[in-house]
């Protein structure tokens, strides 16, 4: 498909500039660690559960390490060193890591950064523990691959639907109903506050605001429910959640362990829309993506969000810029193109003349810039109103734009977008609408040939040119400066500001992350899908 006749030179230049702009940020990310990365390491090493106040043991233990020896060496060295000592000290030990955490919480633990032989031993033990977690991820990946072979989903776009009751037990039947009605991907939205929690809640939860907490147990419950319905339908239904917020790395780890299939994971969303510190976010993100890469999870990025706070026409090129940056960061973390659900959205004010054609221009630009990425196509939200009829129609045209431009993941729009989190009937109606459009007009892309030099082609070129200009500026002045200036979504987020800054540490020369060590080992039996 080359309907837009993009200049390959300009495209290459855009990618080069994105690399120039992104490189320093990757260096930054690999020069730091965060409390959440370290907690993710412990989770992958098998530390589960929470104390009687609901504080996870991983938090307890990381906090203890940080208090006693600082974060800069990573938790692995002090923890596995302490474990070795604990083992030597003896005692009941069917879960030594848990016992260690409990002792740390009780203030009974004396931590140190081992050196010499102790360090070597701790490193080896930590890597072994991490490898067990990564193996679970590998196993889950293979389970997914096998299920996809037996319960194949060959059509595109994948139809993506949200549930958000706040109660995992209400979510389950709603998700199953949605799957039966045609959803290929179910996303369980998180409770509004979770992204700012610096811990991952535990267990099955029933009380969320406008969403359900992302917990390991909730992941497990929903994945099992979707496995059931997948078998019933003969079609593997994917599960999605959000690797975002202060616990991005841990959520990424849990997603891999519990076989989630896609994760919302953007390099800048937390900075822009949750006011999380930029260094924290970029550092977390790099680690999270390494885990996603290994888990065979498709990431969905969040460019669509910019268009809810900035204007979709004026800011169209910022979406392109962000997609290129997200691509660069993703590649640096080891993600393959088929794993890049780069985001964009149908958010142009419908009152603008030719709005639909401009949407097509933007969507097609993304399609042709990233031919091998699935692309996540988001429905109108900002210009939805209480006029549910108009909204239903708009959603239909959104779906059509998706079909005409070959988007891979179609997030289903809801007519009640401006009113309530979706009702059971909203989802059912929405899926009906999607089915109509895809069945009736899904093949129309064959007949869609943007007029050479016409509005669509011209607009796409213009956006790409603007994107290149902006990338040039960012490459020169630095991405963190650009973010501080309100380049994306009109949100100004200075480098030093934002939440979670104090959970970041510069890695010491002896920093050890056993998970990263394991991820760097060669894998067997990996293959795209």
């Amino acid at each position: 498909m080359t309907l837009l006749d993009l200049d390959p030179g300009v495209v290459t230049r855009a990618r080069d500039l994105a690399a120039r702009a992104g490189r320093p940020v990757v260096d930054l990310a690999t020069a730091h660690t965060t409390v959440s990365i370290e907690r993710a390491v412990l989770r992958l090493a098998g530390l589960e559960g929470a104390d009687h106040e609901g504080t996870p043991w991983v938090n307890r233990l990381v906090d203890a390490v940080r208090a006693q020896v600082g974060l800069e060496h990573g938790v692995a060295l002090p923890v596995w060193d302490a474990l070795a000592r604990q083992r030597r000290e003896g005692g009941a030990d069917d879960d030594p890591l848990l016992r260690l955490a409990q002792r740390a919480a009780a203030g009974e633990l004396d931590l140190r950064v081992p050196e010499g032989r102790s360090a070597t031993a701790a490193t080896r033990a930590a890597v072994r523990a991490a490898r067990a977690g990564v193996r679970t991820i590998d196993r889950q990946r293979r389970v997914r691959e096998r299920m996809l072979e037996r319960l194949p989903v060959t059509h595109r776009p994948l139809v993506y639907l949200i549930v958000a009751t706040g109660n995992i037990h209400e979510d389950v039947p709603q998700a199953q109903a949605a799957a039966r009605a045609g959803a290929d991907v179910i996303a369980v939205i998180r409770s509004t506050g979770q992204s700012l929690l610096d811990f991952v809640p535990e267990g099955a939860t029933t009380e969320g605001f406008a969403g359900t907490y992302a917990t390991q147990e909730n992941f497990r419950i929903m994945r099992a429910a979707l496995d059931d319905v997948s078998r019933e339908l003969g079609r593997y239904v994917r599960l999605t959640n959000y690797a975002s917020g202060l616990c991005m790395p841990e959520i990424a780890a849990l997603a891999g362990l519990e076989r989630l299939d896609m994760m919302l994971n953007d390099s800048m969303y937390g900075i822009l829309f949750r006011d999380i510190n930029p260094v924290r976010t970029f550092t977390d993100q790099h680690f999270a993506r390494q885990v996603h890469a290994r888990a065979g999870i498709i990431i969905n990025t969040g460019e669509d969000n910019y268009l809810t706070t900035a204007d979709a026409v004026e800011a169209a090129h910022t979406v392109t810029v962000s997609q290129l940056l997200n691509e660069y960061f993703a590649h640096q973390a080891g993600l393959a193109d088929w794993q890049l659900g780069l985001g964009h959205a149908f958010e142009i004010d419908p009152a603008i003349p030719d709005s639909f054609r401009i949407e097509l221009a933007h969507a097609l630009l993304a399609r042709e810039l990233f031919p091998d990425a699935p692309l996540k196509w988001m429905p109108p939200t900002k210009h939805m109103t209480g006029d549910i009829f108009r909204g239903y129609l708009l959603d239909g045209f959104f779906t059509l734009a998706g079909a005409l431009t070959g988007q891979g993941i179609l997030l289903v729009g809801m007519m009640t977008e401006a009113v309530v989190t979706p009702w059971l009937s909203d989802r059912d109606l929405a899926l009906q609408g999607v089915r109509y459009v895809l069945d009736a007009a899904g093949g129309l892309h064959e007949d869609f040939r943007p007029a050479p030099g016409g509005l669509i082609v011209t607009r796409a070129h213009q956006v790409l040119d603007e994107a290149v200009d902006l990338l040039g500026r960012i490459a020169d002045e630095g991405l963190l400066t650009a973010i501080g200036d309100g380049t994306f979504g009109l949100m100004r987020r200075p480098e030093a500001g934002g939440r979670g800054r104090d959970g970041v540490a510069v890695r010491a020369p002896d920093y050890l992350n056993p998970v990263c060590e394991v991820l760097a080992e060669p894998v067997v039996g990996e293959g795209p899908r």
Binding site: E170, I388, V420, W423, L424
Partner: protein, 254 residues
Amino acid sequence: MSRIVRPYGDATGDGMVQLSFTLPVAAGRRADGAAAQLARRMGIDPAMVVHSRAMGPRFTFFVVYGRANHVVDLDAVEVVEQDFPLLTDKEIESRVRDRLRRPVVVVGACIGTDAHTVGIDAILNVKGFAGHKGLEHLAAFEVHNLGAQVPVPDLVESALERRADAVLVSQVVTQRDAHLANVAEMTAAFREAFPRQRRPLLVVGGPRFDESAAASLGVDRVFGRGTTPGEVASYLVHRLVPEPEEGRSHAASH
């Protein structure tokens, strides 16, 4: 299982409903207040007026969401249960052949000024509806479909002439309750033209009829949207050629 239920938005018992309407008032805060008042009077509380749009200077359209405080008592639901067995074509054919020994004579029409024949044709003609063939297709029925815009006197005459066992009348246009007026005219004419015992079974149908209104309309049965020919055939046979144990409520008598 509870026999009391509430509307369901996204949680059991939340009572949520959607409502839209127009009020003959100029748009503005006062209009929104009027809309909220109406919704509350309908038992929606809290009522959120989520959309209001001026339609010219004198009318405003509203969309309201909210919690309906009424409950549904499933035990008190009035519904015309299907009070007759659904018969297969074979059962119908054999029952009529064996017990009535002649076809059931059916006269059908759209009466009044209504020209929507697709519905009655769906019931009567071979072509049928949604994969079910119409009554014509069975030897058990002798069908006279008079078509569209048949004046009531013509219908009565035809029923007399054909010695109809059943008269099937369709009404689709409901504006200004045209369907009710036409049915009233029809039943009056049949009451006048036939002695009680020999009056054919009167059946009316159409998408906007309330199936539970047979008594008040003065007909034997009402069929609403989505009726299949098989239902109608089964009903006619049930009423006109009852099995001995079914009782002879309105058996064909000539």
